[in-house]
Symmetry: C2
Subunit: 421 residues, 2 copies
């Protein structure tokens, strides 16, 4: 190592990367190892203030192995997916020089230097909120910065894709499209930005984290089963999705909320339909998910035009995208009417994220939740209130892409020991 300050130096980079939610779904691979999908997909990036991964990466001649810590626990890096990302990044690394610290790393050194990676999610991992997408994107983005990989975000997305398919879409803020590509080696299976987070900034997103006791099918094995057994999936991938992708791009470009909502809801439902058409069938949504859909559908129909879009990934949590702040406040009233918190929960931990939506909804304390009237479109059916069916709500919005955090205090790695702080 051509480091001038001796063998004790440690160089670190810290970055923050958002999670994303697909509005045209990715489900099914045409190549398992390279993670090449059978159709394009489109996502909204979620505000990293509320949902993101922060990752610090460090390199030092003193490190003897590549090591990684996730949410405070050391995890193995031996999996193919991690190894593929590390190999791809090392092969693209360039010379690095830190004049202040007097560190010089030449391109060829990277093959021998070992890395420490420390990663944290700012949201509960068990909640099933696409933590692997943000996590792998952040790993690739932070290492690319550390290693001076001179490639644009789309090229990096092809590396992140090999760690976790949907991670490629987390390299961009706003709205991203994962292009399935045609090449056998996957070089053209990359994400691109459709619009940044300022393009359509009145959208408000409310996530209902749904209580669930059921162990879920992992998306990796679930989508493999669907590819192998569903008689409907290929028709979806070849005939349905290509049209929807075009229409969704247009809806996003024009900020056409009714089209956006119709496409997002239809595609979420179709994804869960092909899961159900799998042998054995996969159920990601539960009765609470169904109730949330039913609430949104009735409201949208009552208003004559969509107020809110819903989309569900490989779990029971609902991601609800509101047209604007006003509809978000009306939505939150409906959600809190139908799903009030358990009596031992306080409001502050039941609705997290952007709490101004709660204020807009006129809800300041728990008794405001208790006093909520049933929504007019449900009045005839005497709707029941389902205490405990939702664990909590997160209020958020479309957000920015990955950023490097230059503030040393944000680093998760102790700059003396190279270990987690």
């Amino acid at each position: 190592m051509a480091a001038e300050s001796g063998d004790k130096w440690i160089l670190t980079v810290t970055a923050q990367t958002p999670t994303n939610i697909a509005v045209i779904k990715y489900w099914g691979k045409r190549h398992e190892e390279l993670i090449l999908p059978i159709n394009d997909s489109i996502s909204v990036t979620l505000d990293p203030d509320h949902l993101c991964t922060t990752t610090s990466v460090a390199v030092s001649p003193a490190f003897t192995h590549d090591r990684m810590w996730l949410n405070g626990k050391e995890v193995s890096l031996s999996g193919d997916r991690f190894q593929n990302c590390l190999r791809e990044l090392r092969s693209r690394a360039s010379d690095v020089e830190d004049e202040k610290k007097g560190i010089k790393i030449s391109k060829k050194d990277w093959e021998k230097l070992r890395l420490h990676i420390v990663s944290f999610n700012n949201f509960p991992t068990a909640a099933g909120l696409a933590s692997s997408a943000a996590g792998l994107a952040c790993l690739v983005f932070s290492l690319a910065n550390l290693m001076n990989v001179k490639e644009d975000h789309s090229k990096l997305s092809a590396i992140a894709r090999q760690g976790s398919g949907s991670a490629c879409r987390s390299l961009f803020g706003g709205f991203a499209k994962w292009i399935m590509g045609k090449e056998e080696n996957g070089s053209d299976s990359i994400a691109v930005q459709l619009a940044d987070e300022k393009h359509w900034d009145d959208l408000v997103i409310i996530i209902a984290v749904v209580s669930s006791r059921q162990k879920e099918t992992s998306s990796t094995s679930g989508m493999r089963d669907t590819v192998e057994t569903s008689m409907l999936l290929q028709h979806r991938a070849k005939e349905v999705v290509p049209k929807r992708v075009k229409q969704m791009e247009e809806a996003i470009e024009k900020r056409d909320f009714p089209s956006f909502a119709r496409l997002a809801c239809a595609d979420s439902n179709q994804f869960h339909a092909v899961c159900l058409d799998t042998l054995p069938p996969i159920f990601y949504m539960n009765d609470t998910s169904h109730k949330i859909i039913s609430c949104v559908e009735k409201w949208n129909r009552h208003e004559g035009t969509p107020q809110v879009a819903y989309t569900f990934d490989a779990g029971p949590n609902a991601v609800l995208i509101s047209h604007n702040r006003k509809t978000a406040a009306l939505l939150l009233q409906r959600l809190l009417f139908l799903f009030p918190p358990q009596s031992d929960t306080d409001l502050d931990s039941y609705v997290i994220g952007d709490k101004t939506i709660l204020k807009d909804a006129g809800i300041h304390e728990m008794k405001d939740v208790e006093a909520l009237a049933p929504p007019p479109e449900l009045k005839e059916n005497a709707p029941t209130r389902n205490k405990g069916d939702v664990s909590y709500f997160i209020c958020t919005r479309p957000g920015r892409g990955p950023v490097v955090l230059n503030d040393e205090s944000r680093s998760l790695i102790n700059s003396e020991t190279g270990l987690p702080k």
Copy 2:
């Protein structure tokens, strides 16, 4: 009226008709009024001892209107579907002579004579167990007998079809196929018998009537919505079902249970998948339905070959078809382990129908239910027991087609007044 015994005579016929459960599903019409389907379907007829409709029909010159009573309440006959059936039957009526009673009705009289119809289901109508299929089939079958309609059961099935699509399959015992037909007037959209109830008589059927608070989408409006909005339904009807129908006919002919089970489960799941792909999405299955599927799938996989097939119609109830009495007893043990009755329910009303299956399962009293061990294939997951999720179980089997009940005491009509007994 050429009735020799004066104007006070009443002529009655009483018949009993089974319900049926589709194992290749009917979902979607190509003609709303004639009830012409977009694909063939195949069903198993259920033993009328446990699930059937009994209908008495009467004709008298003293009757002033066509009238009908269903489960003790007078109901309107003004709907198009009833009217279509009555018109079709009247146009095919023949001369009738009852020498003993001295009654003679000539073909042309039927246009003027009015009818009384009294119908009862021997199972709770609210349970969502295809009561309309048995009901309409019984109405057509009993009237055809009363009116001396000289047509075979397949021709009659085309009339019943116009009352309720799946009713056409209830004209046969054992296994029936509803051929979609090609003619615009629906004349070739008829049911035929694939095999009678003796052909495969070791099958045992257990129905789990699932508790549900949700109001369900009627199948008529649900399938209309699916036809109009699902992007997957036509692919199912044109590409998937025709192959499955052939394979299912072969499985039934050869009594090939593994193929029968795989096809029935896959087709039930695909029917629910296209419901989910509908706008707004239709959910007929609930968390309890999902738990039952999961239990069966795990057991089938554990044994290496299917022990039980499941199928769900437009509601949360599970229809479970066991290979034989032995697997039925093992299935019932599993079901009672996972879904024990509420403490205030007695075993005798919790498992109804053919109670010998309960004895085979070694369950004689409630404490035998309490003492059940978790099934070996679930042991690792420490399965919970879901008290109250199932209302009751019905043990039954494939059964016979419609029969005329000659025993006057079985008539539901008072032979003096022409009104319900």
